[in-house]
Symmetry: C2
Subunit: 84 residues, 2 copies
C-alpha cells in the first residue's frame, strides 16, 4: 500500500453569489486595502489516504467529492494527488 496526499479545492460556481466573500471584501476596504477586484471564499480539504495505485485513490476521491465534500449543484471541485 502506498500513501498519497490529496488536496481538494472546492469553490462556489461562478454564477453563485458569495455574501461572505463580499463582506470580507468590504472589510478589507475598511482596513485600508484598496484595489481588490474580486474575493471568493472556498474550501480546501487535505486528505492522507492509502491505496494501491493513484488511479485507485482517484476513484475514491471522485466519489467523496461528489457525495460528501462538495455540493455539486452550487460548487465545483478540483484536486491534486501526490504520492508520499
Amino acid at each position: 500500500m502506498d500513501k498519497f496526499e490529496v488536496k481538494v479545492f472546492i469553490r462556489l460556481r461562478p454564477s453563485v453569489l458569495d455574501p461572505a466573500g463580499e463582506a470580507i471584501k468590504s472589510a478589507s476596504n475598511k482596513l485600508g486595502v484598496q484595489g481588490i477586484k474580486s474575493l471568493r471564499i472556498g474550501k480546501m480539504i487535505e486528505v492522507k489516504i492509502e491505496g494501491n495505485q493513484e488511479v485507485d485513490v482517484q476513484e475514491k476521491i471522485d466519489l467523496l467529492c461528489d457525495r460528501l465534500f462538495a455540493n455539486t449543484v452550487i460548487e465545483d471541485y478540483e484536486y491534486t494527488i501526490k504520492k508520499l
Copy 2:
C-alpha cells in the same frame, strides 16, 4: 497598475483539533471509502487585486491575512501570487 491573482490557503494549526474534519472522515468510512489516515478542512480565499508591484500586493495580503482572513492563534496561512 498590474492585476494579480492571489490564492490564500488557511489551515488549522496541527495542534488544533478539527471536529468537522473528523466527522467527514467517519462519514467517508460509512460511504465505503477505506484507508483515510487523516482529513483536515481548511479555507481557500481567492483574490483578484490591483497593485504596482508584486511586493506591494504581498504587503497588502500579509496585512489581510493577519488581521482579517486567518485567526493566527489557531490557524496558519500561506499564499501564492500570480501576475495576470
